[in-house]
Amino acid sequence: MEEMDEIVQEFLVESYENLDQLDRDLVALEQEPGSRELLGSIFRTIHTIKGTSGFLAFNNLESVTHVGENLLARLRDGKMSMTPTTTDVLLAMVDTVRELLAAIEERGTEEGVEVAAPVAAITAVLEGREPAATPVADLLPEAAAPAPAEPGVAEVAETEPEAVVEAPVAEAPAAPAAAASAPAAPAAPEEEHTTRRNAAESSIRVDVDLLDTLMRQVGELVLSRNQIVRQAAETDDLELARAAQRLNLIVTEVQEGVMKTRMQPIDHIWAKMPRVVRDLGSSLGKKVNLEMIGRETELDRSLLESVKDPLTHLVRNGVDHGLESTEDRVAAGKPAQGTLTLRAYHEGGQVVVEVTDDGAGIDPERIAAKAVQKGLRTAEQISLMSQADVLQLIFSPGFSTAAQVTNVSGRGVGMDVVRTNIEAIGGTIEVESVVGRGTTCRLRIPLTLAIVPALTVECAGDRYAIPQVSLLELVALDADRAATAMEEVNGAPVYRLRGSLLPLVRLAEVLGVESERSDGHVLIAVLQAENKRFGLVIDRVLNTEEIVVKPLDARLKAIGTYSGATILGDGRVALILDVQALARRAMAAEALERTAADEVAGEAAKGVGEQLRMLVAGIGSGRRVAIPLSSVTRLENIPSDKVELVGSREMVQYRGQILPLVRLDRHLGAMSERHTDDLVVVVYSAGDRSVAIVVDEIIDIVDETSDVHSDIDDPGLLGSTLIRDRIVEVLDVRSAILAADPRFYTDPAPVLDVDGTITTSFQEAL
């Protein structure tokens, strides 16, 4: 019922405004009776009121506007022409409508307003009779007298004496009210008016352009505030400092206030979701219960528009792919009806919107396999990723988890488009999932686009702004650490950030300017864009501040490195870096990451004693071997009888691939002590090729190794090291792999024939 009230309120506000316009139009129409434009406008207004009143079941209102509409239609179509009489009845109609609206607003019902009279008056005009014959005119006997019996309409216009028409004009508005005066009705409104503002007064419509202008000006105000606060902080003038402080507070409040004027509840876009879910559910044969929490959560109207499509896509996706079929749900012991929950809330200056289903969840294994299959990531990249990170791969371009393309959400518009759209407005998206329990997609959207928190940095003496939303952390390296911590992979700089490689982008190089940093210190802003992390090397970090985003003209946008400009506290212009574009531009990211990973494997194999995770395995004869974990994709147990012989080499079929085997005990001259019918293998992959290294047992995974002593000359080993007080041999992975697959580093992957036998280049190699 509350919703209904809201609709009625909106209808009232809208209609009052329309009526005011109508009054003006009708009067104007008298000046230029032939104006189609005016007639059209009046007709539309009345038509709108009629339509809505019919919908809201205000029958009296509908009947009045209905006859009015008929009359207007004939006038508009030129079947009748305007006469003072028609103007009168139309004005009378407008007044009646106004009274009806007032009655509805005050009493919630249109009872007690006389409508028969104006309806009859309009009908009379429609039928070419004189309104004088109607009850309205009856109330004014002197007006009734001179009415001619049956003149043509056009004739009326000419013959009608002015005075006679004047009377109804003046009286008609009052007449219905007088006739309507049900005892209590007129008195009640008087009292109500004093306590309650009527609908039209409590809210006003404001041109969006005006709001935009206000927002811009507030932006200027924020900048001036920043400037003054900064200067006040530098002086000893207490008065000025206090004034600046006050200014600071007030500007913040004004900024919030103006931002609020542009805010609309998210319900505006949620309102159509029940229908989307219902239609989709029934077409898929799924029962779906849609829950919406936090519908009143507000965000900037321009953002609301941008969020609409991605959100709809997520909802459709949730129903289509997230929720299982009814049978599957029942089989899994869940209620037959699936639940899709939309939740919105404010958190840390952002709006969070979640789309949660209680469906089957997303299996990271499947995502990983798919990502490898599609060539989005290599197996070892996946092995280095956390499960949560693997899930985010669904947002990669070219990834679609739908096993089969449905006409619902598999039309080539993938999750990557959702992410692109969200990132375009400075938002982020992430997915969480528990297999069997459901999936949550979480959007984080800034409250507004116009003013964003940013980090200001310096490069080659120029200042740039980086939106905070892309910033993960800052790393400062002094000259000594920078010298060792920054490494090169094929000439591309990388930094080891807590064990994983962070590709580095030197801002000065990207911009083609000379860095002014010559003391060897390195500052890295760790940024995230499109699910990729990279480090931006800058000269200096200056400040974090709220910046006002100014658009750039087209030729600057075309450069593709800047997303906008802003004015800093000292009045200078600074460019805002487009982090997404930087990520795309400065690194062929995937390639870089891949080479980085490969190189590390190679480096480790060469025995560089870094803090690497090592897998310690027993190979028999009491010997232990350490294998760099970064090169390991997977640990598996494989039944011995799966091993096939190709020439003199051993192979196994594994996940549709052929894995050449190398038995480390034989490779390194030990004697296996394992006498079971399965093999412990360490799968190592690079690109699309893998080999299986057979060991006796997996003993441990250790985080650190001391220096590798290369005092062992044995083939296949790099040296030895101490791990947990035991001497462990460090495997030369490269030589072990080459022993299994001589072409591992040079050839493309072998393939399984359709009949499942191995017919590959291996045989040629033998």
């Binding site: 911009l511 300017v513 030729r555 600057l556 450069i559 400009a565 200078r572």
Partner: protein
């Protein structure tokens, strides 16, 4: 018919643009350079809170670059409703010129400047080169 032009100099030559296109004339403004931008873009200027692109007219007309100590002046013009800044050597004045003083650019004139010039007004002591405002600040 007479036309009113705002004049300024570039590399010793006198140029003019239609006075109606000119919004204002400013002294040297702090500029923010734009790495990777074409050379003709001389930076960004803060004009009372509005960020303007500044077109270096010397670059645009393929004239020799300004010496480092020579700070450019700024002529703010409006093109299609949007203000754009032109960087010039010095500001001249507002002059009225007659149509009969006008001549099209000589045929021998080639390159960028021909595209940007409407023609020349023959003043009694020198030539006033009239710029096509829209083209002059186009990319």
């Amino acid at each position: 018919m007479s036309t009113r032009l705002v004049t300024f100099t570039l590399h010793g030559h006198l140029y003019g643009v239609d006075v109606d296109a000119v919004q204002e004339v400013l002294r040297t403004q702090p500029r923010t350079r734009i790495p990777l931008a074409p050379k003709t873009l001389g930076g960004l200027i803060n004009l009372r809170g509005q960020v303007l692109s500044a077109v270096d007219m010397r670059e645009q007309l393929e004239l020799p670059a300004r010496s480092d100590e020579q700070e450019p002046m700024v002529v703010v013009i409006r093109v299609a409703g949007e203000p754009v800044a032109m960087l010039v050597d010095s500001i001249g004045s507002v002059v009225d010129v007659e149509d009969d003083q006008f001549e099209l650019p000589p045929d021998t004139l080639s390159g960028a400047s021909r595209e940007l010039l409407l023609g020349a007004y023959k003043l009694h002591d020198q030539l006033l080169l009239a710029l096509d405002v829209e083209r002059a600040v186009a990319a």
